[in-house]
């Protein structure tokens, strides 16, 4: 192995990026496992919280929006109760927000991995994503259960994970980008969560895009997260899937992921100097 040329050849080639991650899949799996377990270690209910927290969230949504506000689904054409409408959008958004808001510390938080051992640091930003996907998976199971229970289940809803691919890629790209910047600029840890919160209100989580005034629509069209939320929620409500929307989101997200990887690989040389 010769150092000096490795990152250059990997850069901008999606197949190389994927094979590189695949090579470290076991390590990545271990890191994600540690990350998830560490969060619940020492808690009285332990890993049970993985089930409990989405369940509690769902119950609260059902109570507040189902019983108190008696809100109906955002889109006029769907009969979906608002709490399920909200929940399905939030699953998508949470994967993005959990990954991205934790990414600035994903590398910075492990200085010994960067400086003291031989370690594939490029997988570190993927750890929060892995954890977010674990949580997303349980959220999805509860969503399916709640859909069946309320009689809103469509077979299409099973395609939900597929619909998430663009948002996963997008989150990966941002994670690489912010993971690298977080090493150099500590402020990212403060800045990112603020932007994430803004993005939540600017994404169609609490409302459908159709409720947005026409003037502001372009803002939503340029936001891949909102495309994915709308698309995946469409699957849940049983509307015909517009795969072209998904395709556009996929292309944009793929580009973001590749650029994020490029930026990360380009700047990783300096990580050890800074940390």
């Amino acid at each position: 192995m010769t150092y000096g040329e490795i990152s250059r050849t990997m850069i901008l080639n999606p197949i190389r990026i994927v094979t590189d991650i695949w090579r470290h899949r076991y390590l990545l799996g271990q890191l994600v496992k540690r990350d998830v377990l560490l969060r619940y270690r020492g808690a009285m209910f332990g890993v049970l919280w993985i089930f409990l927290s989405p369940l509690l969230m769902l119950v609260i949504f059902a109570y507040v929006f189902g019983q108190i506000f008696q809100a109906r689904g955002g889109a006029a054409e769907s009969n979906l109760p608002f709490w399920l409408f909200l929940y399905s959008g939030l699953i998508v958004f949470n994967i993005f927000s959990e990954t991205v808001s934790r990414s600035p510390t994903s590398v910075r938080g492990y200085p010994s991995f960067v400086k003291k051992i031989i370690f594939p640091v490029q997988i570190l930003p993927l750890v929060p994503l892995g954890a977010a996907l674990v949580h997303g998976f349980f959220n999805f199971l509860f969503l399916l259960a709640a859909l069946s229970w309320t009689g809103n289940f469509h077979a299409q809803a099973l395609l939900f994970p597929l619909a998430l691919i663009p948002v996963i890629l997008l989150a990966t790209g941002f994670a690489w980008f912010l993971g690298a910047w977080g090493v150099f600029i500590k402020d990212m840890t403060q800045i990112v969560p603020v932007f994430i919160q803004m993005l939540m209100f600017l994404s169609p989580v609490f409302y459908p895009v159709s409720a947005v005034p026409g003037m502001l629509r372009p803002l939503y069209q340029s936001n891949p997260v909102s495309h994915v939320i709308e698309f995946s929620r469409g699957l849940v409500t049983g509307q015909p899937a517009e795969w072209s929307v998904w395709g556009v989101a996929l292309v944009i997200s793929l580009a973001v992921a590749i650029l994020g990887n490029f930026f990360f690989q380009h700047s990783r040389e300096e990580f050890a100097d800074v940390l």
Binding site: M1, T2, Y3, G4, Y26, L27, Q30, R34, L38, R41, S112, F113, V114, K115, K116, I117, I118, F119, F184, I185, K186, D187, E269, E270, A272, D273, V274
Partner: protein, 411 residues
């Protein structure tokens, strides 16, 4: 020499750090696209080239800040070279800092498997090695306790046990063994010798010249980011290091004694110092007879004949005894004895008399002379070892200490 024989090849290697005064300067630097300079530069390593053959054990020595750690990090690929290339033939296991990568919240067992995962050892492969690692670490039931509950000794043992069991072709140890106790260090070196016998290439950074002398095939002395000396004559590289550390400036050799001259090759003596004064003769006397076959419990005289090229106001003269590969079994010097020693120019004869305390067996006698001025110590002549002695006793006993039991039974 074909390139297949080379484990590590370093060419014109250099590393310059960019130092930013303020985090914002880094952003400015990034945005200025190299048009303007917002940082200072610090060159930790410049123009270093060397080859290390497969199966070689190389000691890397140098004062603090001479670039040792930077060099190792570059070889591991943790740092990116500013100039030049590093070529490593084979897998690397590095112990740059003990237990780096250990998570204190997880148990020893979990951390062992995780370290395996980091270096690409699968769970199945680790299962096969786990018992060996656990027994080497020797931490008993603690293996299933969180690492944060470990004592530093346990931590070290586990970390070394894992690193030495990753079956890497190149093993890099940075001061790894400085923390452990003597018994553990001895076991580590046993393990290192095992790795050597299996054909691993080993890089050893240590401030213990003794470790370097007894375990390395060649040595490399770094000074201010460059190679000062290197070569297979480990003793002479170590001697140069001792000079740079202890003296702080270059010392010319006196005409009477040249470096490495007059060494005891039969006992693999390593000899170094400035030789401004040197131990010319060394005799051991018992019952009025000069001998190397000793009996314990008798008064024994170590007689050093020292030639000095000038006078010294204060020197330290020490004698110690050890078994090959162990620490000192016995040692003493005039400083500990509270006795000031001076040398005058020319011939000095100094005698140390002791009641010889060791049991039967073969031992090596070490002798060292250093000049003392204030808190500074300058090695004049270190002879490791200077003599081999055989001790005979009238009856067998266990261990190294002569203390035969007198047994009586009360009526």
């Amino acid at each position: 020499m074909s390139s297949d024989d080379i484990a590590i090849s370093v060419r014109n290697l250099g590393k310059t750090y960019r130092l930013f005064g303020h985090p914002g300067d880094r952003i400015k630097q990034f945005l200025s696209l190299g048009m303007k300079k917002y940082h200072n530069e610090f060159t930790a390593l410049h123009d270093v080239s060397f080859d290390i053959k497969k199966g070689e054990t190389v000691g890397i020595i140098g004062r603090n800040g001479s670039g040792k750690s930077t060099l190792l990090q570059l070889i591991c690929g943790i740092l990116k070279p500013t100039t030049g290339t590093v070529n490593v033939n084979g897998s690397i296991s590095a112990l740059l800092e003990l237990g780096a990568g250990f998570n204190p919240e997880f148990t020893g067992r979990e951390n062992v498997y995780f370290q395996g995962a980091v270096t690409g050892v699968s769970k199945e492969q680790m299962d096969a090695r786990f018992d060996d690692i656990a027994s080497f670490a020797d931490i008993g039931e603690f293996i299933d306790q969180p690492v944060r509950t470990y004592s530093s000794g346990m931590f070290v043992r586990l970390a070394f046990a894992v690193a030495s069991k990753l079956d890497a072709e190149v093993v890099i140890l940075d001061e790894a063994l400085a923390v452990g106790d003597i018994a553990f260090q001895a076991r580590c070196f046993e393990r290192i010798d095992q790795l050597r016998n299996n054909g691993a290439t080993i890089l050893l950074v240590s401030h213990s010249m003794q470790h370097i002398l007894s375990h390395c095939d060649s040595a490399l002395l770094l000074h201010r980011g460059g190679i000062a000396v290197s070569g297979r004559d480990v003793a002479s590289v170590v001697a140069d290091y001792e000079k740079s550390v202890r003296v702080g400036h270059e010392v010319s050799y006196p005409s009477g004694a040249k470096k490495n001259e007059n060494m005891r090759t039969d006992i693999q003596e390593k000899r170094f110092g400035s030789f401004e004064a040197f131990i010319d003769t060394f005799e051991i006397e018992q019952d009025g007879v000069v001998t190397t076959v000793l009996k314990p419990g008798r008064e024994t005289v170590f007689r050093c004949g020292i030639k000095a090229t000038r006078s010294f106001r204060a020197v330290a003269l020490g004698i110690s005894i050890r078994k090959p590969g162990t620490a000192d079994l016995w040692g003493d010097n005039n400083i500990l004895a509270g006795r000031e020693l001076a040398l005058h120019e020319g011939w000095n004869l100094i005698e140390y008399a002791v009641d010889f305390p060791l049991s039967s067996g073969e031992y090596l006698v070490y002798c060292g002379l250093a000049a003392i001025s204030g808190s500074k110590r300058v090695e004049l002549d270190q002879r490791w070892p200077i003599e081999k002695v055989t001790v005979v006793t009238d009856r067998t006993q266990i261990g190294f200490i002569y203390a035969p039991a007198r047994i009586s039974v009360e009526a």
